[in-house]
Every structure is written in C-alpha cells, then in structure tokens.
C-alpha cells in the first residue's frame, strides 16, 4: 500500500472503537451479548488496521503522519491535530487493541450473563478506554494527549465504580476521582504553559522550539506534565488510587487498568521526555530513575504484605511500571528497548495474572489468600495460567520477562548505574517472593475442607488464558527476533527525536536503523536469574514463617486509605518533581 493510503487509514484505529462505544449501549437493548460481540469485532478491526500499518512502520523504520481535517502544516506551523504512527506508538497501540480484544472475549464468557444496561455500559466504557490508549499512543499533539488522558480518566471512573452494589467499589471510585482530577489540572496547566510560551502544541514544533533553550517555565511545565501522567501510570508517590481500584473491580477491568491504562501514562511521559524536550537540558532522567526505583521497591514490598490477591497484583503493577521507567530512564539503546519491551510484556503477563485472579473469584467467590488453598487440584488451568504469568514476571527463560529484564539490566550496567542496578535486582527478588507466596497460599498449600464450586471455567476464559499465555511464551522464546523487528525500531524513534519531528512536519520520514545486541544465553544473566530466584524462594519461605516486620507495618500504615492523605502525597510529589526540574 502507498504511504498516502496508510496515512489516510491512521484515524480509523481510534474511530472504530469510538463508534463501537456509541453503538454498544444501543445494541445492548436488543441483546446484552451482542454489545460485547460487536465491541470484540471493533477491537479486532482496530487491530487489523494497525497491522496493515505495521510492515511499513517496523520494516522500513518509517513514521507516517496524518493531519486530521487535512490541516497541513504551513511554513513549519502545524495548524491542526496530527496523528503520527512511529514504531513506538504503533507498538503500544497494537498491544492495546490485541489485548483489549482478548479481554473482551474473557468478558463475554465471564460476565455475559449480566443485565443489558450493565453490559451495554460496560462495553461502551471499555472501548472508550482502549480508544483513549490508542489515541494517546498515536497522537503527536500535546492538547490532544490531554483529551485522551481525560477520556481514559472518565471511562476509568465508570469502570472503577462498575459494581455499584459493592461499597468498596464506590470508595475506590471516589479516590481515583480525586487523584486523577488533581492530575488532570496538572496536565492541563502544563500544556497551557507550553503553548503560551512557544505558541505550539505539536510535538514536532515544540521539539524544534525547545532545542535552542529550555527556560524555567519549560522545566515547570515538564514537571507538571510528568506529575500528571505519573498519576495515570501509578508511579509512587502518585499511586494511592491504584491498589484500591483494582481490589474492587471485576477481573477483566483489573487487567484493562493494569495492562493498558498505565501504559497511557508511560507513553505520555516517554513522548515528552524523549521526543519533545531535548536530551540533557533538564535532570529529568534522574527524576524518572528516582520515581521508577521508588515505585519498584514500594510496590514489591507492599505486594509481599497483601492478603487480597487482586490487591497484591495491583501493588505488583506499581512495581513493574517502576521497572519499566527505570529501564527508560537509562536513556541508552539497551535500556530504552528493554523498557519498551517490558511495558508490552507487562501488558501480557499482568492481564494473564488478573484474569486468573478473576477466574478464582468467578468459581469460588474467594478474594483473600488466607481463605484460599489447594486450588491447583480443583482449578488446574487457572493455576497453570497464574504460574506462567508469575514465571514471566520472575524473568525465567524462556518467558518474555527474561528478555526485557536482561535488556534493562544491560542498560543499567552500560551507563554504570550500580546502585539503581542493585535496587532493581532487590525489587525483582521481592516481587518474585510476593508472587511465589501468593501461588503457594492460593494454589499449592494443602487444604482440608473441600470447596464449593458452583461455576465452571468457560471456553472464552480458557481461550483468553491461552492467548495471553501464548503471547508471554512467544515474546520470550522469539526474543531476539522481537527485539530486532519491533523493539529496536521503537527505541530508535525515541533516540532520534529530530527525525520524528521532521517526519511529523513533512508527513512521512524514515528513522535510522538501530541494532540492539542481545545474547540470549548470557551466563552472567542466567546466573543472576538463578540467584535472584533462590533469594526470592528463601525470602518467601522466611516471610511465611515470621510475623510482619516493623518496616512493612509502617509502610502499610502510611497507606491510610484516606483520599486527603493520598492527595497530599501526590501534591508533595508534584512539588518535588517541579522543584528538582526547575532548580537543578
């Protein structure tokens, strides 16, 4: 297909789910299942269009832009909103569409029996959220990014409070409303400041304007934008909402929030830091490294202490997004490729783990680890899915986590960041211990009394497990190919912002080819994985035997559950980020 034809198709991956979101509640009047089936088709259509773009974008390292409403740039001034498919954005958009389709398949199976109004609204909000993620991944316009942020925020409020009859869902919805509203002010003012200063909203134009000189106003705007999007990504100390929302929502919604909505925040931060602001003009990589390490450690430690399975997985999401940001904050090719790789991997394995947790609730009604036990014998498929997801996070070869974590470690070593490297290894060991503890308590611990299981595992749920499990294995086993074909071009688009900017202004352009070396059987990495797993096993065994240490008790006590306190943490974090960026 010609570049012009590919370019004209570019709005469709967002437009199709938006149209699906409008029609779903209407179709639900006829049949509730029909609404979900049409949503599933919309996701598949969106994924198909993105796949049509893929050979040109990944194969030729090409950036394809589309000027919405045909407002073409005049003398380097972008007049309208631009969509630009670069390898990085297209990768995230593709992940959102494919995993969204798998989650809708699971929904059809598990929640297909819900009422018409409920399922119609659910299908509508679900598609709005995925459309927002795809839109944020493809847009090259700061204000448009804010709009997708708000679309995702509004649909997440609805989905967080979806089980209106469960009081904790309302409590969680209130907290996410308070924190996300604060974040939206931050993003809004940040975008406004940048426009007021440079008269531009297009990433390309802002990149060119900022290349000469980055003033204090620009630094403050960057701080506001990072703080706002970090709330969406769930980075500490902006993470107060995340665990609560995941505790109360149904399984597929957990998976959607953790796998895809967090990615929206990460994508926005990455675009601003690497493609808009010039490298080295602000200490932003140091800020990201600090936020990433804080999230990785805090999430891992909190996960170790949880009794509620979904809450445990939610804290683990904070930890994994932290690891992704650590990889990106190295700023070198291996770290960037590893960070992007881990973002996509996280979408696959965390969706798998949350669906497994959802399947346990579906079949037994149990949410607490202390009440579970011996489920492996009664639910072998779910147990296998959970163990596969946990092994992927643990970075065991041949699963996908191994490749991305190795790359992140390599990136950290390459830039001689020893302390962050050790902290990353520590958080990884704690994460594995937390998941190992969960797997032991839920699935393998012997259980005396038998469980009453009225529900069975339905075909769509098994198909979703199989699809996500296959993604985990494929992205691990075919690691070098995935790295060369998908992740290296994506990293190239972040390492060459000037090329991205000129492509956005010109309508199309090529990125330089980047090769990221990766040694699959590197002995050092294999030893580090083995040692990490051994430490994790000891930690898990030890933690099951002792009472809660004082440090963890204090950390848990800081998560007071009060919206006021969480807002205070987020505001303090925002001020700290701004202060570091503008004063350093």
């Amino acid at each position: 297909m010609t570049i012009a034809a590919l370019s004209s198709l570019l709005p469709l991956p967002v437009a199709i789910p938006l149209a699906g979101a409008v029609t779903a509640p209407l179709l639900a009047r006829a049949s509730s299942r029909l609404a979900v089936i049409v949503s599933l088709l919309a996701m598949a259509g969106s994924a198909a269009i993105l796949l049509i773009e893929a050979p040109e974008v990944f194969g030729q390292d090409r950036v394809i832009a589309q000027y919405l409403g045909h407002w073409r740039p005049v003398n380097g001034h972008v007049l309208g909103v631009t969509f630009a498919a670069d390898p990085f954005g297209l990768l995230v958009a593709l992940a959102a569409a494919v995993i969204g389709a798998i989650l809708l398949l699971y929904t059809l199976s598990e929640l297909g029996g819900l009422g018409r109004r409920e399922l119609g609204g659910y299908a509508c909000l679900f598609q709005l959220l995925i459309a927002a993620v795809i839109g944020a991944a493809l847009t090259a316009d700061l204000f448009n990014l804010f709009v997708w942020f708000e679309v995702a925020a509004l649909s997440s409020y609805g989905l967080a409070g979806f089980f209106l009859e469960r009081p904790i869902a309302l409590e969680a919805a209130f907290k996410v409303l308070v924190l996300t509203t604060l974040a939206s002010f931050s993003v809004f003012v940040g975008a406004g400041l940048e426009y007021a200063r440079h008269g531009a909203l297009s990433f390309a134009q802002l990149h060119d304007a900022l290349a000469g000189h980055t003033s204090a106003t620009d630094a403050i705007a960057l701080g506001l934008l990072i703080a706002g999007f970090a709330t969406k990504a769930g980075l500490a100390p902006f993470h107060g909402w995340l665990a609560d929302v995941h505790t109360a929502a149904p399984g597929p919604v957990n998976a959607l929030f953790s796998a895809l909505m967090d990615a929206l925040g990460v994508v926005a931060i990455v675009r601003l830091v690497f493609q808009v602001y010039p490298a080295g003009s602000t200490p932003v990589l140091g800020v990201l490294m600090t936020l990433g390490l804080a999230s990785a450690l805090l999430g891992a430690v909190m996960a170790l202490a949880q009794d509620d399975l979904k809450r445990l997985l939610a804290y683990d999401t904070i930890s994994q997004v932290g690891i992704v940001v650590v990889g990106l904050a190295t700023g070198n090719a291996a770290g960037l490729a590893g960070g992007i790789y881990h973002l996509i991997n996280h979408a696959a394995f965390k969706a798998l783990l949350f669906l497994a947790a959802g399947a346990i609730v579906h079949r037994t009604g149990l949410t607490r680890l202390s009440e579970m036990g011996g489920l492996a014998r009664r639910m072998p498929v779910t147990a296998a899915a959970f163990v596969l997801g946990a092994a992927s996070i643990a970075g065991l070869p041949p699963f996908n986590g191994y490749v991305s974590l190795s790359l992140i470690h390599e990136g950290l070593q390459h830039s001689h960041e020893t302390v962050p490297y050790l902290l990353t290894l520590a958080s990884q060991a704690i994460t594995v211990a937390a998941l190992g503890r969960a797997a032991w308590l839920a699935f393998f611990r012997p259980r005396q009394e038998d469980l009453d299981m009225p529900e069975r595992l339905r075909p769509g749920m098994i198909a979703a497990f199989a699809g996500l499990g296959a993604l985990c294995v494929a992205f691990g086993a075919a690691g070098p190919v995935v790295l060369r074909r998908l992740m290296a071009p994506a990293a190239a688009s972040l390492l060459h912002p000037a090329r991205y900017a000129s492509a956005v202004l010109a309508g199309t352009g090529r990125l330089p080819a980047l090769s990221v070396p990766f040694n699959y059987g590197s002995p050092a990495e294999l030893i580090s994985v083995a040692a990490g797993t051994a430490v994790a096993a000891l930690l898990c065994w030890g933690y099951l035997r002792i009472s809660e240490p004082r440090a963890i008790r204090l950390l848990r006590a800081a998560h007071t559950g009060s919206a006021n306190d969480y807002a205070a943490y987020a505001i303090a974090g925002t001020l700290a980020v701004i202060a570091v960026l503008s004063l350093a």
Binding site: A153, I168, F174, K175, F185, L201, G561, A563, A567, I571
Partner: protein, 122 residues
C-alpha cells in the same frame, strides 16, 4: 490589571487545595476541586490576554479599533480560550460523576466523612 488575575488564580488554587487536603466531607472536597478547576481556567484566560487586545471575534472590529489592528493579531489568543472551553465541558462531566459517586456513598455508608469510608487501606 492582569496581575490581579494571576493573584486571584493563585488564591483560588490555594483555597481549593487547602479544602481538598484538610476537609473530610466529600462534598466539600468536590467543591475544593471545583475551585482549583476555576483557578486553572482563570490562569489560562489570563495567559491568553495581550496588552490592549480584544476578544478573538473577527467579524467586526470593536468600538475604537480598526480592522487594521485585527489584521495585526491584537486579539487575545483564541487557542487558550478553546482549551478552557474543552476543559469546562470535561469538568462538568467529571463533577457530575463525582457527585453521583458521593451520593451513592452517602446511601451505602450513611455518612459523608471520607475518614469513615476507608475499608481499603494498607
């Protein structure tokens, strides 16, 4: 003149933030957030203003101004005003969702104190 706007925006932001951080009544928290929202609008509109500029309506020049001054772009920046229009629309939707969640919480828990509604913690 415009300095007053910035001071007012800062004051509104401060009052709103103080409310969000210290009031436990959920309706008051929503009101605090609304105040902060108003502060961001005022700030944006003030950023859009240029000394001596007119409203960005380009049909006829306002009294005392000629078409010449319009052609030279001495109007307030319409893009920032459009920002605010978009944000106002979103803000209305968010406030509606916010208040409906608070109403449901009040129905379930029989309280508006956010300190009483924290089953999820730790």
């Amino acid at each position: 003149v415009i300095l007053v706007n910035y001071l007012a925006a800062a004051a509104l932001l401060g009052i709103g933030l103080y409310t969000v951080l210290t009031r436990r009544n959920m309706i008051k928290m929503v009101m605090g957030l609304s105040l902060m929202e108003a502060a961001t609008y005022l700030f944006m509109i003030s950023l859009a203003y240029r000394s001596g500029s007119t409203a960005p309506v380009l049909l006829n020049p306002p009294p005392g101004q000629t078409e010449h001054s319009l052609a030279h772009g001495n109007v307030a920046d319409p893009v920032l005003q459009n920002f605010c229009l978009t944000a106002v629309v979103i803000g209305v939707a968010v406030t509606a969702v916010f208040l409906s969640v608070v109403v449901r919480i009040a129905q379930h828990y029989r309280t508006l104190d956010s300190d009483q509604v924290r089953e999820l913690r730790g």
